[in-house]
């Protein structure tokens, strides 16, 4: 800002606090806009009509040149073919594209344009995903060679910086959860949840109780991985359904616990956003039966600094560093799962653990009680570097502010959505939700024939990411689950609600138009859906598609 402009502003405000006046006026503008139906983007998605790369290029074109062995090298050792055992040489070259570099670059840039990433759209839509802003500076950190070009087997003296970041992040997460020990080895949230099933398995194996304890309890509103990963670990899974208020039925839960119980793997708040005020009672019931309690904290945004898993009695919990702690989602990974547990379960954590001995950070492998490994090497530490930077950028007050604003945003959006005809919010009437809400469009479907899937496919026409409906099964009919975390401004929230309102209005006026959605996307409505289930029609690779439907290509 040049000094002339600065002066003008100061004169204009007569010395009064400029920001305060402006903010008030701006808020009035926003309120007016919202009364008028909100601001919708007149959006058209990029449509490149781009052929598959396998159909492009020309024999002989090159995308990149590869280093060739020096003449002196081949003079000493001969040709590569001399070292390939008989029958192990490739008979026919792979049918890969042969394309010049610019054409490859352009192709994938077009694909990037046809991807509505969070940075472009508004990912309030993707509830249970905590789509917050990922600071760009963090990307610069992880792309530098002292992060990206570190080999996992390097001498630990040569990676003290990374180890320190991992260790310190572990300490912060311990404080946030109240737990005693951590690992950042899991390669995603579900992977951390699997780690828990394995740690509990090892705990009871060490106590000689594995033969007796074979059942894991979860709830239907907990993430599918809370049911699937204990199954993979070898346990029978018991799923508790909600009571009339949406809480896991306490009596059904009590009835499910026995001397066979390994523990529970549950979320709180669940996908409904309802905080279970009796959560410590569930834990108590488990502990009385000698079982363990784990809480899935994939979406911990609403409780940061407000409630800790350990304080409710849990023995273990996890976080998704790519959700609550701002590491970007990267088209579904790479991701980092943080697993934390009490002292009691610490001996069973996967190896290596990152420890601190004096002033030196250390990879500790000598842990005879460990479950072994869930992932190779050290894990996805790109996510840890970003999470570390994010936590440091927030500090303790900032983390609480993240939670407060997420919860406020959610309730503000709730107020707007519940004013829309056809939207309902099942369960726990009179109770406020924390970070997200599971709504239903059942009434809209009854009234118009337009359900949640059609609304989802319509909203993308306004440059808003398609909304997350629900994990399966749909206990709430015609569900959708927005999660307006701290990233989003009041105007963003108004816009999101306005898009839902717009789709609902259209459903009442012209339901077929909504059912025919989308209308402004890179492609038209999908057809031949039976290919998703029918062996005669599916084609997992283009080579298979060409063989099956040769006449069409």
């Amino acid at each position: 800002m040049n000094s002339g402009r600065r002066q003008a502003i100061e004169r204009g405000t007569g010395g009064a606090p400029l920001r305060r006046q402006d903010a008030k006026a701006k808020l009035d503008d926003l309120a007016r806009l919202r009364r008028d139906g909100g601001v919708l983007h007149d959006y058209r998605a990029p449509r490149w009509d781009e052929p598959f790369i396998m159909e492009q290029g020309m024999p002989g074109e090159r995308g990149i040149m590869v280093p060739l062995a020096e003449d002196a090298v081949t003079a000493e050792v001969g040709a590569a073919a001399d070292y390939i055992p008989e029958g192990m040489a490739r008979a026919a070259a792979p049918e890969l594209p042969e394309m010049a570099q610019y054409q490859v670059m352009r192709h994938y840039l077009r694909y990037a344009q046809m991807t509505l990433g969070m940075d472009l759209g508004s990912d309030i839509s993707e509830g249970t995903c905590t789509m917050k802003y990922s600071p760009k500076m963090h990307e610069e950190l992880i792309r530098g060679h002292r992060a990206a070009e570190v080999h996992p087997w390097q001498d630990e003296d040569t990676m003290q910086g990374l180890l320190q970041i991992v260790y310190e992040t572990g300490q912060y997460l311990k404080s946030i959860s109240g737990m005693d020990a951590f690992t950042l080895q899991p390669g995603g949230g579900s992977h951390a949840v699997f780690t828990n099933a394995c740690v509990m398995r090892r705990y009871f194996e060490a106590r000689g109780e594995l033969g007796q304890r074979s059942e894991m309890i979860t709830t239907i509103f907990s993430h599918p991985c809370d049911a699937a990963t204990p199954m993979v670990a070898g346990f029978k899974v018991i799923t508790v359904m909600p009571d009339e208020n949406g809480y896991p039925d306490l009596e059904a839960f009590r009835a499910a616990v026995s001397e066979k119980t390994v523990g529970c793997m549950i979320t709180n708040p669940e996908d409904t956003g309802i905080y279970n005020p009796q959560i410590d009672k569930y834990v108590e019931i488990l502990h009385e039966a000698g079982a363990l309690a784990f809480t899935d904290q994939a979406n911990a945004n609403g409780i940061l600094g407000f409630a800790r898993a350990r304080d409710a009695g849990f023995d273990a919990c996890h976080f998704n560093l790519h959700k609550t702690f701002s590491s970007p989602h990267g088209c579904e990974g790479p991701a980092t799962g943080a697993y934390l547990c009490s002292e009691k379960l610490a001996p069973y954590l996967p190896v290596p653990l990152v420890t601190k001995v004096g002033e030196r950070y250390h990879l500790e492998y000598d842990r005879p009680e460990s479950i072994g490994r869930v992932r190779g090497f050290l894990g996805n530490w790109m996510g840890v570097i970003r999470a570390y930077a994010w936590i440091r950028s927030m500090g303790p007050e900032g983390l609480k502010e993240v939670a407060e604003i997420s919860v406020l945003n959610n309730n503000y959006l709730d107020n707007l959505l519940m004013a829309i005809d056809g939207v309902s919010r099942p369960y726990a009437e009179g109770h406020r939700r924390l970070d997200q809400v599971r709504y239903s469009l059942e009434k809209l479907k009854e009234d118009t024939g337009v359900g949640t899937e059609a609304v989802r496919d319509r909203m993308v026409d306004f440059g808003i990411q398609s909304m997350w409906m629900s994990h399966h099964p749909w206990v709430v009919p015609e569900p959708f689950t927005p999660e307006p975390c701290e990233t989003y401004s009041k105007a963003d929230l108004d816009e999101w609600a306005a898009v839902i309102r717009k789709a609902v209005d259209e459903a009442h006026a012209d339901p077929q138009f909504v059912l025919d959605s989308p209308h402004a996307q890179p492609i038209d409505q999908m057809r031949r859906l039976e290919a998703m289930e029918d062996p005669d029609q599916w084609a997992f690779t283009w080579r298979k598609y060409k063989r099956k439907f040769k006449d069409k290509v």
Partner: protein
């Protein structure tokens, strides 16, 4: 801090007026009223033990970069260590694409709004299918060890048998991961892992031992080519034949960057292939560049039906000639069936599949052939130069791709000593395998890819000569 409102660049609604306006609309005096949903006894009342915020981007950058600069990278030093995570050249176009904000910030958006992501994914599957010579390729997950374990479980479901045979020199790290997935043997549904021997001279499968152990109680026979110790497995076709003769499946573990020159698993007759795509355009990221794939022959739908990972199929749209991508058999995954699904899927390594798609498209058949040839010739040159040094011996030659075993017994030095001393020459030596394979003595697994040229290799040989003298 307590007196000043906390307005952070990442939290717009912290502006006091905004917050107040939102509270007013809700008829609340403070957010505390919402937090009343958490009973007092469960409320955390302390202060998190986290240092105060570093608010400016400049200071934060300085702080974190300062920590990272305590690391030494494989750009600072020459690196001859692989052992499951390999330093290959990453083309600039790969980074340019996967650093695009659209891809970096996308997640599980819909078929239309995230079309580019799904098309990239389908192209990845299609090009990897060409490299592997297999029609079915699933969406990758964590890493090779994980998909090895999942392949064993998949074979168990397909055959109804609960044992698999794996080579005794399978990567110990991958074996640890697979064991975690296969459950302790005392459990009713565990998948039991048994071993067949390997030839200590060639590093290849001991077919006689495999024949002696294999019977119709086995779900699958697994082999790795190149194996953990670097050697190319020459007996793949025989292993397939033996496995099929008892009704077992043949599972190949492969490094896909070898497949421009080496026979692909489809050509050899494998039913299932697994491996890591890290060599195909991923930086090492201390192992974070790894991502495991599963592929299969698709002439029998049972392979797709029992595949534990997400599958994508080519679809059509209302406009003739226009393609879409849809998720196939979604009810089979944990998202569709919870604990009744095939293992589980979750956020794992999506961006890496896009990187690998770009990589495969850039390389083409010619690039893959050349990178294979360069890896083989330069690694053999390195082995020759090291093997000429007094007391240094190359084991398990002559058929390896980019990794080979270097034994230091004759030098009187341990691998740990050699590697420590090499750091003084700004070199990362090979992976110490003396604890994993005591029968190999003081041996290290060295890796030479196309990344390092003759001058680098000569520098390595000079340094090893000096530190072993």
């Amino acid at each position: 801090m307590a007196d000043k409102p906390f307005v952070h660049p990442y939290i717009p609604n912290s502006v006091p007026e905004t917050k107040q306006a939102m509270l007013d609309e809700l008829g609340l005096s403070s957010v505390e009223e919402i937090y009343a949903e958490i009973p007092d006894r469960l409320r955390f009342k302390g202060t998190l033990d986290i240092p105060p915020a570093i608010l400016s981007e400049r200071q934060l950058r300085k702080h974190v970069q300062g920590l990272l600069d305590k690391n030494t990278s494989s750009v600072d030093f020459l690196n001859f260590c692989g052992a499951g995570c390999w330093q290959h050249h990453v083309p600039s176009v790969v980074d340019e694409i996967i650093n695009r904000a659209e891809f970096v910030s996308a997640y599980c958006g819909g078929d239309y709004s995230d079309l580019g992501k799904y098309l990239s994914r389908y192209e990845f599957n299609s090009m990897l299918g060409e490299l592997l010579d297999l029609d079915g390729v699933a969406n990758p997950i964590y890493d090779w060890g994980d998909v090895a374990g999942r392949s064993f479980r998949m074979a168990r479901r397909i055959t109804g048998r609960d044992k698999v045979l794996v080579p005794a020199h399978m990567s110990p790290m991958r074996l640890m991961e697979a064991r975690t997935l296969c459950q302790p043997e005392s459990m009713a549904n565990s998948t039991k892992i048994r071993f067949y021997e390997w030839d200590r001279e060639t590093g290849m499968a001991d077919l006689e031992d495999l024949k002696a152990k294999l019977d119709d109680s086995y779900a699958a026979v697994y082999w790795e080519s190149p194996g953990y110790l670097g050697t190319i497995e020459a007996h793949g076709a025989e292993i397939v034949k033996l496995a099929h003769s008892v009704g077992a499946l043949a599972i190949a573990g492969v490094d896909p960057i070898t497949l421009g020159v080496l026979a692909p698993p489809g050509q050899i007759g494998a039913d299932i292939a697994c491996g890591d795509i890290q060599p195909l355009g991923m930086h090492m990221h201390a192992g974070g560049g790894c991502s495991g794939f599963i592929a299969f022959r698709d002439d029998d739908p049972v392979f797709a039906q029992e595949c534990p990972l997400e599958l994508y199929t080519c679809m059509e749209t209302a406009t003739p000639g226009q393609y879409a991508v849809g998720e196939a058999l979604p009810d089979r995954t944990s998202y569709g069936a919870r604990d009744q699904g095939k293992d589980w899927v979750g956020t794992a390594s999506g961006l890496w599949t896009i990187a690998a798609a770009v990589y495969m498209a850039l390389m083409g058949p010619q690039g893959f052939r050349e990178v294979g040839e360069t890896c083989i010739t330069r690694s053999h040159y390195a082995a020759k130069k090291l093997g000429e040094l007094p007391g240094v011996e190359i084991k398990l030659s002559p058929s390896f791709f980019k990794e080979f075993v270097v034994n230091f017994d004759g030098t009187g030095k341990s691998v740990a000593e050699v590697n420590k001393a090499l750091l003084g020459h700004q070199i990362f030596g090979g992976k110490d395998v003396s604890a994993e394979f005591p029968e190999l003595g003081q041996s290290a697994l060295y890796c030479v890819t196309e990344y390092y040229d003759q001058a680098d290799i000569d520098a390595l040989a000079r340094a090893v000569k000096e530190v072993t003298a």
